[in-house]
């Protein structure tokens, strides 16, 4: 059953796209009372699909509508994230990764900030990782649309610690959703730990994950729980990047 207010909202967008119109004109064109139209138009302005010229009072198509259909460009994401990825590496003195989904079962490293100790390191940008074995991957698997489901993945054992049971992985993803961050403990590479948090685009959709990796004993305690300071900084970086994305318009 069609929902009337959605139909009317669509009609308003088309009207003001054809020519900037005042409230009276919109109401007349739609043959609706002005208060009804006003409520619809206000909502459309609030979500950014329609905008009002402060001088003439007329309505036209909002900026946000122009962006519909264009996902966030991944290199724009990297650029916008850089200052915050760098800050995370500086604060924790660990290597930082920024990742986006690559298909339903993998991620690709979009950015890599060296561990700031000036030791020789090699850029890992473009590296693919399975989503079930890294902290970044678990964030995307738990939260990003189009990644998973668990039953579609082949749960390869990279180390003896890899999660290869669907039930165990599913339970852990529930934890990731609840806590808002993920951890890895030698599940991809022996002795390497990681903590990651989501990056959300405007509207809340998870589009990327940001995290740190390093020697397990540096990040995690003996029961594989990450140090609180690490979690706090990683989550803060995820939030800062998300805010940066929201400000890009």
């Amino acid at each position: 059953m069609p929902i009337q207010s959605v139909e009317r909202a669509a009609a308003i967008i088309e009207l003001v796209d054809a020519a900037p119109l005042g409230l009276t004109e919109i109401a007349r064109a739609m043959d609706l009372p002005k208060p009804t139209v006003h409520g619809l138009v206000r909502t459309l302005v609030d979500v950014g699909f329609v905008q009002q010229d402060p001088d003439t009072g007329r309505y036209s198509v909002g900026d946000r509508l122009g962006r519909v259909g264009h996902g966030l460009d991944r290199h724009e994401l990297r650029s916008l994230a850089t200052n915050w990825s760098d800050r995370l590496a500086a604060r924790l003195r660990l290597e930082v990764h920024l990742a986006v989904p690559d298909g339903f079962d993998a991620l690709v490293l979009l950015d890599h900030v060296f561990r700031p100790d000036d030791s020789p390191q090699t850029l890992r940008i473009g590296e693919h990782q399975p989503v079930h074995a890294t902290a970044l991957g678990k964030v995307l698997l738990a939260l990003a649309p189009g990644v998973g489901p668990v039953r579609a993945l082949s749960l390869v054992a990279y180390t003896s610690a890899s999660l290869v049971e669907a039930a165990a992985l599913t339970a852990e993803l529930g934890e990731v959703r609840r806590r808002g961050w993920a951890v890895e403990a030698g599940e991809h590479q022996p002795g390497i730990g990681g903590v990651a948090a989501p990056v959300r685009d405007v509207g809340g959709v998870v589009v990327a994950a940001v995290g740190v990796v390093g020697p397990q004993q540096q990040l995690l305690d003996t029961s594989h729980a990450p140090r609180p300071a690490v979690v706090q900084q990683v989550v803060a970086a995820g939030r800062a990047i998300s805010q940066q994305l929201a400000h890009r318009w």
């Binding site: 290199h75 724009e76 990297r78 650029s79 760098d86 590496a89 900030v113 850029l123 940008i125």
Partner: protein
């Protein structure tokens, strides 16, 4: 927590960045300002709009860090260089929009100067042969063209400055007690400063008929100028820097032979040449690197490229090929190579090392094969090849060959570009953990001035490598592509008559 604040007043935007003791970024706030193009080749900024952005970014950066003005130990300023503004000392009203460093309107005036008897004097005293790139011809243009301005200048009613002078004057009270100062690096880009004595030179002022009363006092980069009364009331201004020299300082290139390349609107290579004044050669400019308090100044040679990031912006705004600058990497990665296409962005002539004011931009090698992906590659490669030309010129004068290139600025987030730069230079390229080197340099100056940091050695230990790109291009490909680029550049010469 005490922090140091930097204001980076750039060509396209103004930001405020806060730094902690370890030289780590704490927060940043940024606003773009409008670019005005009243005529081809003219580029202007509204100095008041920029000032309002400064007033906004400082509290915004503090708020996002959860800090108050009292937490700021000092404030440092870095700015787009050579952009000229004249304002009324009583009202604070700019007499004309600021004429930016990209503006070419002074070309006829400069040609006249170069044909006249004083050209050699300029080179001898300020180290620069007259060019439309520098600030003084813009001041001359303003005095000629703004009705009554010459008289007001002679009467002492108006003040001249590059952006840092304008902002410091506004920050310290404007008409009520505002201090009118500039720093040695910005002053070294006017064409009016004796590069040995670091003072305005009366002969050069006379050559351009510029009243001395108009000019700010020249100060070292690291020195407390005054306290702010606006934006961050009570906070001392501990230093100012032209943005490129700020980046050199922020990258801690304190030793002779150390260099950095900053990729922004334009791109600039600066090489520290120590305390000896460098002689101009190979199209590189001698300039002041920094002066700390009353110590002897350190010099640098500079290779300036007018258009790099701004070519990406043109590709975005004028051709509408992409919606954001970084998206150019996505487009460029959609193809394997440039498809035989080369773009030479001589939009306002070519700067270092060729200095061809009459060159104009071209796109060559177009065939039906070429797509917008190839054009995107050509845009990025133009930055790579211009880098190579400047680095080659620099290598000829550097005491030791460049073993690695330290880079910073917004374009270094583009990995395709950074790999290409490493490939065409055939040396590794490294970026520091703080990409905002311009801001960091300004913060370092201010922090040193108030004792927040004790000395340069401490700052040097703050530098950390965040990424490194290794060269991977086969030699014969590099040679072939370089030849194509050079053939393309030759075709831009002498277009303007």
């Amino acid at each position: 927590m005490k922090v140091v604040a930097a204001i980076d007043q750039g060509t396209t935007s103004t930001r405020c960045v806060l730094f902690d003791h370890a030289g780590r970024m704490v927060s940043v706030a940024q606003h773009e300002h409008r670019q005005h193009y009243p005529q081809p080749g003219w580029v202007e900024h509204d100095a008041l709009e920029i000032w309002r952005n400064v007033e906004r970014v400082v509290p915004e950066a503090l708020r996002s860090a959860g800090l108050a003005v009292a937490d700021v130990a000092a404030i440092g300023i870095a700015n787009q260089r050579e952009t000229a503004v004249v304002w009324d000392r009583r009202t604070g009203e700019p007499a004309h929009p600021a004429i930016t460093w990209q503006d070419t309107r002074t070309a006829p005036l400069v040609a006249e100067l170069n044909a006249g008897p004083t050209a050699a004097l300029f080179e001898e005293v300020c180290g620069l042969s007259p060019a439309g790139y520098f600030a003084a011809p813009r001041l001359r243009w303003l005095l000629d063209r703004v009705p009554g301005l010459q008289e007001r200048a002679e009467a002492g009613d108006v003040l001249f400055g590059t952006m840092e002078s304008w902002l410091i004057w506004k920050l310290t009270g404007g008409p009520i007690g505002g201090v009118h100062v500039t720093d040695v690096t910005n002053a070294s880009r006017t064409m009016l400063m004796d590069i040995d004595r670091l003072a305005w030179d009366d002969r050069l002022l006379a050559a351009l008929d510029i009243p001395r009363a108009l000019l700010p006092e020249i100060r070292p980069n690291v020195a407390v100028y005054a306290e702010c009364t606006a934006a961050a009331p009570g906070v001392p201004i501990g230093g100012a820097f032209g943005d490129q020299q700020a980046a050199l300082f922020g990258q801690t290139c304190f030793a002779e032979g150390e260099a950095k390349f900053t990729y922004g609107t334009g791109s600039f290579l600066l090489l520290n040449t120590g305390t000896q004044r460098p002689t101009p050669s190979n199209g590189l400019l001698p300039t002041v690197a920094y002066a700390i308090g009353e110590e002897a100044p350190t010099y640098a040679v500079e290779g300036s490229i007018a258009m790099t990031g701004s070519l990406v912006q043109w590709f975005r705004d004028s051709l509408e090929m992409i919606r954001s600058a970084p998206e150019i990497e996505t487009l460029a990665r959609s193809v394997a190579d440039n498809g035989g296409c080369y773009i030479v962005p001589a939009f306002s002539g070519l700067y270092a090392p060729r200095w061809q004011p009459d060159a104009r931009g071209i796109i060559v090698g177009l065939t039906s094969f070429v797509t917008k992906g190839h054009l995107a590659r050509a845009v990025l490669e133009a930055t790579g090849w211009q880098t190579a030309e400047v680095v080659d010129a620099m290598t000829a004068v550097a005491p030791v060959p460049i073993q690695r290139l330290k880079v910073d600025g917004g374009m270094t987030a583009n990995h395709l570009l950074m790999q290409f730069v490493a490939d065409v230079l055939d040396v590794p390229v490294e970026r520091p953990l703080v990409l905002e080197s311009v801001s960091l340099g300004a913060a370092y100056a201010a922090g040193l001035a108030v004792g927040y940091w004790p000395d340069l050695e401490v700052l040097r230990n703050n530098w950390h490598r965040a990424a490194r790109w290794e060269p991977a291009m086969p030699d014969d490909l590099r040679r072939r592509e370089r030849e194509n680029w050079e053939r393309a550049v030759e075709r831009t010469y002498d277009w303007v008559r």
